[in-house]
Symmetry: C2
Subunit: 308 residues, 2 copies
């Protein structure tokens, strides 16, 4: 039967987002399922398979792509702790559940898959070499080279959040090291810096709140609060530096900035872009910087992109 659809599945710790797309990447339908993490997450793949069989004519499906939270190599996720998983051969296990054996199944890390989503139908549409920074509680990343997701040898491709950029190593990272980009440029990192610097100026509005958020820091910076501006300048300087390092490895066509912190908008992009050129060689002509466009649907789009 004629293959007309791609399925993109973003498997998160709370919800599983399933998108049905035509072959050009236009979303036809989408569903949310709760993530059943009981029994070490062993029901997750069967429940997805059951759902697809009930809701979609799989004979018309060209491929099913997954994005999963954890490092992926050759279809296998290691340490999928957010799903209750240890090491799971997602491609192998899921293929076994399918009666239609001609369906392509692929899986990649969720941050990489989000980069693929922006490349498929978002801010990086039409580009072949893309780097996405997802700036939320942490800093994730995804790299697309020549139109393909870069998983890397240990599934650590695009793990830009763990680049050592704060040489003073002031803050401990969840990974166990200190000084990672994530400790000074994620929402958490921005709060780290704000708490450090607000003491220096009692007039800063950042002192009025016990619980700071990255959004507050950006909002006060936009209104000219000196300490908030200093925090934003420093965090975005680290991001600009990280972008320069990515450029000198793979020289992408475009950097896409997503995640919750990216709701700070063009102000954030301008801060990163204006500080980027001090770090790259003068031979770099011009790098593009853009805000992500797909929000939390990027994972579904990118999961489908893998099997396009």
């Amino acid at each position: 039967m004629m293959k007309k659809y791609l399925i993109g599945i973003d498997v998160g710790g709370t919800a599983i987002k399933i998108g049905q797309f035509d072959l050009a990447g236009v979303m036809i339908n989408k569903w949310d399922l709760p993530t059943n993490k009981t029994d070490c997450g062993q029901h997750i793949l069967p429940e997805i398979s059951h759902f697809l069989n009930e809701n979609i004519n799989l004979e018309e499906v060209k491929g099913i792509g997954f994005g999963v939270p954890g490092p992926v190599t050759a279809g296998v996720i290691k340490n999928g702790v957010n799903l209750g998983w240890d090491t799971i051969d997602v491609v192998g296990e899921f293929s076994k559940l399918l009666t239609n054996k001609d369906i392509i199944v692929k899986v990649s890390n969720d941050a990489n898959v989000a980069a693929a989503g922006e490349t498929f139908c978002g801010a990086a549409q039409g580009y072949q070499n893309v780097c996405l920074f997802t700036i939320g509680t942490g800093v994730g990343g995804g790299i697309i080279i020549m139109g393909k997701l870069v998983d890397g040898h240990d599934g650590m491709g695009g793990e830009v959040g763990h680049m050592l950029v704060d040489q003073k190593r002031r803050f401990l990272c969840n990974c166990g090291k200190s000084g990672c980009l994530e400790t000074v440029a994620s929402a958490t990192g921005i709060i780290n810096l704000a708490k450090l610097y607000r003491i220096e100026d009692p007039t800063s509005k950042l002192n009025r709140y016990d619980r700071l958020s990255a959004k507050m820091v950006f909002d006060f910076a936009k209104k000219g609060d000196r300490i908030a501006l200093r925090v934003v300048d420093e965090a975005t300087n680290y991001l600009a530096y990280a972008c320069s390092l990515v450029t000198l490895v793979v020289n992408p066509d475009i950097f896409v900035i997503g995640g919750g912190v990216s709701y700070a908008g063009q102000f954030l992009i301008d801060k990163i872009e204006s500080q980027y050129y001090q770090y790259v060689t003068p031979f770099i002509s011009h790098a593009k910087f853009a805000l992500a466009q797909l929000g939390n649907e990027a994972g579904m789009y990118g999961a489908a992109y893998q099997v396009r």
Copy 2:
């Protein structure tokens, strides 16, 4: 006619190395031509074409690959100053010179091509994701992802020598910035550090020589000279840091270290490898480090690898 051969051509500022290979990458023949840089290097490609026509039956040639000194994108080199070239469409120009229109022509940057050479028939044979550091007068680099050379948007893929790693920015780089990896880890960089530190200890053997070389520094370090060891430890620490940054972008299977400084041998590799793990996340299982094997023939092998 049956296609039996690949041609790999490393176009350097002094000599043009031409290698003839079978399809598996075994070298059948090689030649050296002088590089004719007169008239803005306009004779270089015609002279190569003439030489090939005289010496090889081009009907049996599947492809001709070039490595050239300068940034390459989509077959075009920009600022090929070492050859007297400005911007040249190498693929377009050379294809016009060929009477056999079924020959594939490709071109990439010489450092990227060297990485491809080591992947084809050298230290990284059998790997799909490779990073080469060429440590000589400067620090060059090349990245192979999923078996393909990464040129990047401005041809700056693999330009790892210009990553800012010396936050104190003590030494000026040829690129116009300060603090590049090249300023503290190339042969020049090692001499920079040696001159800086030898003053602190008049008993260091490094004080006995007006003209230092990187080889001297490594030789004295191996014999236990305290200052020489400090220089080697610092230079290799910067290299280890740069390797960690590459890992967190593309997570290669193997790092290959080549160039003149790599004649320091396993001592150099051990120094880099032992300092690498402090910079990567604990999730990285194990990275391979190896000495380059092809010396100055890597360019020919890699040029041919492009058209395999």
